[in-house]
């Protein structure tokens, strides 16, 4: 009975359905479900037939089962049938049986060992076809035990008169060696004789066998080095023979054998002078004589090149190899270019000058539409950059950068920057190149590119005006590329006065007004594309500019600054990690530092101009200085007053006190809470204006004694109505002699505005003793909670 949808078929019973008919049926099934149905039905029939034990049609059933298995359906119930079929005397049965064994009875099946005996019998039978089948199965699925058992049988067959059997025996030997390397003793002796065989199949098999033997044992390697002359002879015959009908493929005589022999020669000649010398002539001959118009010839040539590269070849030969690869590059066939690029990449370290000659071709390959080729071409081009060709190469690479796919952009950009760093002829060129890279592919550069560029610009005094001008125009065009924006804002902040001066001989005159600069910085700050780090840079620039700019924009600048400063404050709270990053920036060159000093004095005067509560300007300026220091990192300039006050909260509070401002919240005085043997703990308080219930306390630990304080842990407790959050301290060591203090931030939420009570617990090691202190903080200022 057939299910609907299939063509009516005149068959006696499905158990004698021929394989072809089954295939026909399966092909006619329109959906996966239908196919499954047909197959399941058929499998049921097959199972029934196996149970019945019908010997005549068994092979047909198994054939169908194998086809089904090929399609991916389970067929394990056919395993025992395979065994039965193998044991049967009929050749048709044996054939299907062995095929089934190869497919179904791999090593993991339990029934696997059962075929050993059958194979043994068949191997000694003497009928070539049967022996062939047995050998084939053995080589496909022989397990280690089987191989050990049958090794001697196979060895006998290696010397049989029939070439067919010899060939199969050799292949089985290869498999056996792979499975059980100890059998190499058995298979070593016959190899020499087999190499003199005429039949190419046997030669090929023997070469593979020798390759396997050499790879697995150094003793075998030494033994086979003696055969290098024989191998050379075989290869030479192949190369110099004219057209041989049996073996010619596209004009090349048995390229597969040639390739295999070359590979074996490579293994034998590696690190061995004598063998390499024997091969030199031959390799040159192969390289020159092979017809390269078709792929077969190119395959042989490629293998030759690989061999030349690996053995101890003469210098001339190596140059020949590189030239062949260069020729490959010019070929229009992409496959050939691919292998050429891969090989050249391997060669570029050892034979640099030879590869240099092909540089133009390599650069051309950059423009390949195929991704894998252009990637290799990029790697190779970057490896080929040196001091003489750096400018031309960078030009090419930058052109490539503009049009290459995004996944390559990162590599290309960092490659160009690296090359520029190593080989830049002039600083100006270097800055130009980096600028161009940032403009084109800014989002893909590595993080330290910004740092490197700022250091570079900072170091090149004569180019300050030039760089700031260029960066300004670049920024004015496009504020989306973060690294570019960061560098540009830094530069504007640093050298803004040079920008406003208006004249510079290296670029066209650019008239820039102060408002334009400020407007630009404002745009950067407010753009949603700017990262927090970028905003930090922009704020810094604004602050720096405030000290440098003259004129009556001062007032509005201050207002802006204060608004920004509050923002800054919250930024610092939220993005502590950024603070660390900014603190670690490369120290400014001294000149930059002293500039800050001079301008700071200017700001003092302008501060006095406006009315306000009498706030001392001296600490303001110094706080301003501190703020700038904080942001620019530890500067080498000795003029700066030590030690830095590390609490941004404190400094910014004072910044908020700049005159002509809307009345800022009064600062809460610091409190010294603990002192013992030189270790001092101070608390400073901040009430951010936006959140009246929030109090931020910064605990600062300073150490003026002679010994370091280590493993410092500070814990705090507050009454139940408060919420306390301890943030991570800046470290757990307070170095001696007034070294860098340790700070820790406490966030306290006080929704009920209850009086604040605070208990602190300290544990640390000092002078070799561990100290624990618990105390309540008295005299907390009222403003902390009101």
């Amino acid at each position: 009975m057939r299910s609907g949808g299939l063509l009516p078929r005149m068959v006696a019973s499905s158990s004698s359905l021929k394989l072809q008919d089954l295939i026909q049926e399966i092909r006619e099934a329109k959906t996966q479900a239908q196919e499954r149905e047909v197959i399941q039905k058929e499998c049921a029939h097959i199972r029934a037939s196996f149970r019945d034990g019908d010997p005549l049609h068994r092979h047909r059933q198994l054939a169908k089962l194998l086809y089904v298995h090929l399609l991916g359906y389970p067929a394990h119930f056919g395993q025992m049938e395979c065994l039965k079929l193998i044991a049967s005397p009929r050749f048709t049965d044996k054939r299907v049986g062995y095929l089934g064994a190869m497919l179904l009875l791999d090593e993991r099946q339990d029934a696997h060992l059962l075929i050993t005996n059958s194979i043994k019998n068949d191997l000694s039978q003497g009928i070539q076809a049967v022996q062939g089948l047995a050998l084939c199965t053995l080589s496909a699925t022989g397990s280690a035990e089987m191989c050990r058992d049958l090794a001697t049988e196979v060895e006998k067959l290696l010397l049989q008169p029939s070439a067919y059997v010899r060939k199969k025996a050799v292949l089985t030997a290869v498999h056996m060696i792979r499975k059980v390397p100890e059998l190499s003793d058995i298979f070593l002796p016959p190899c020499a004789q087999l190499l003199h065989d005429d039949h190419h199949g046997i030669l090929l098999g023997t070469t593979t066998l020798i390759t396997e033997l050499c790879e697995r044992s150094p003793a075998a390697l030494k033994h086979f080095r003696k055969m290098v002359p024989q191998l050379v002879h075989i290869l030479r015959t192949l190369v110099t023979t004219g057209y041989s009908k049996e073996h010619s493929i596209s004009g090349v005589s048995d390229p597969f054998l040639q390739v295999q022999i070359l590979r074996l020669l490579r293994i034998l000649g590696r690190n061995h002078e004598e063998s390499s010398e024997t091969m030199n002539d031959l390799l040159a001959q192969v390289a020159t004589n092979t017809d390269t118009s078709r792929n077969a010839g190119n395959a042989v040539l490629f293998e030759t090149v690989l061999t030349i590269m690996d053995i101890r070849s003469a210098a001339g030969l190596r140059v020949l190899a590189v030239n062949i690869l260069g020729r490959f590059l010019l070929n229009t066939d992409r496959n050939i270019r691919y292998v050429a690029l891969t090989s050249l990449l391997r060669l570029v370290q050892s034979d640099h000058s030879a590869v240099q000659r092909h540089r133009p071709t390599v650069v051309e390959c950059l423009w390949e539409p195929d991704g894998s080729l252009s990637r290799r071409a990029l790697e190779l081009s970057l490896a080929l950059v040196n001091s003489s060709n750096v400018q031309a190469m960078t030009q090419e690479l930058q052109g490539f950068l503009e049009s290459c796919p995004p996944d390559l952009q990162a590599d290309c950009a960092s490659g160009i920057l690296l090359a520029a760093e190593r080989f830049a002829p002039t600083k100006r060129w270097h800055i130009d190149t980096t600028l161009r890279v940032l403009t084109t592919a800014g989002t893909h550069v590595r993080d330290d590119a910004v740092a490197n560029l700022t250091q570079l610009i900072g170091g090149a005094q004569e180019l300050h005006a030039y760089s700031v001008r260029r960066l300004y125009s670049a920024l004015a065009e496009d504020i989306s590329q973060q690294p570019l924006v960061q560098v540009a804002t830094w530069c504007i902040g640093e050298y803004g006065d040079l920008l406003l001066e208006g004249s510079c001989e290296e670029t066209e005159p650019l008239q820039v007004e102060e408002e334009e600069v400020l407007a630009l910085l404002e745009r950067v700050l407010q753009s949603h594309m700017s990262l927090p780090a970028t905003r930090g840079y922009a704020l810094t620039a604004l602050v720096k500019l405030s000290t440098r700019l003259r004129g009556d924009n001062k007032s509005c600048l201050d207002v802006e600054l204060q608004q920004r400063a509050v923002e800054y404050n919250t930024l610092f709270r939220k993005y502590d990690h950024m603070r660390a990053a900014i603190l670690e920036k490369i120290p400014l060159v001294e000149r930059g530092g002293s500039q800050v000093d001079e301008e700071a004095k200017e700001s003092k005067e302008t501060a006095q101009l406006s009315e306000a509560a009498p706030v001392p300007t001296e600490p303001q300026a110094s706080k301003l200085l501190d703020l700038l220091d904080l942001l620019d990192g530890p500067s080498g300039d000795a003029q700066h007053p030590p030690p830095l006050d590390p609490t941004p909260g404190g400094a910014l509070i004072h910044l908020l006190n700049l005159p002509c401002a809307p009345p800022p919240p009064a600062p809460i005085p610091n409190l010294k809470v603990f002192e013992r043997e030189g270790l001092q703990l101070d608390l400073s308080f901040v009430r951010p204006p936006g959140t009246p219930t929030l109090l931020l306390i910064t605990v600062t630990a300073t150490n003026t004694s002679g010994g370091d304080v280590t493993h410092f842990i500070c814990q705090a407790a507050v009454p139940k109505s408060f919420q306390l959050q301890l943030q991570a301290p800046s470290g757990d060591t307070v170095p001696a002699q007034g070294g860098l203090p340790m700070t820790q931030l406490l966030r306290i939420l006080n929704p009920k505005k209850a009086p604040l009570r605070l208990k602190l617990r300290l544990t640390y090691n000092h002078f070799g003793q561990s100290v624990q202190e618990i105390f309540e903080v008295n005299n907390l200022p009222v403003e902390a909670w009101q």
Binding site: C136, T207, F256, R334, N335, S372
Partner: protein, 123 residues
């Protein structure tokens, strides 16, 4: 070393598959779909060698049938490329103008044939 040899048509149906390393049955179908997907997405202008996980795939297209060979990196890609063509030529001789239909119908015979031929040199 050759890891596997596949003949897959453009619709993703496997006509012939031979694995020289043990791969589970369900993983095989997955492997085949992935491999054919990467081959189908290549244009004419791209080269025939693809890097896939830790193998290299070398493929050749004959009408609607893709022949894909997966190798490890010790193989000469161009020699394998030539070998694929050689295999197709032999099939052509045997079936006198072979087509995909022949391959799918005579797959069992194909297997025998294939495994004997395959053993020449590459294992």
């Amino acid at each position: 070393m050759i890891k596997f040899f596949l003949m897959v048509n453009k619709q993703g149906q496997t006509r012939l598959s031979k694995y020289y390393e043990h791969v589970e049955i369900n993983k095989r179908t997955l492997l085949e779909t992935e491999v054919i997907k990467s081959c189908l997405s290549r244009s004419n202008e791209q080269c025939s060698f693809i890097e896939y996980k830790d193998f290299k795939l070398i493929y050749r297209q004959y009408a609607a049938l893709f022949i894909v060979v997966g190798v490890n990196d010790t193989e000469n890609e161009m020699a394998i490329y030539e070998f694929i063509h050689n295999f197709v030529e032999v099939l052509d001789d045997y079936f006198s103008r072979v087509s995909e239909l022949d391959v799918s119908f005579f797959s069992a015979v194909n297997q025998v044939f294939h495994s004997t031929w395959q053993r020449t040199g590459w294992s």
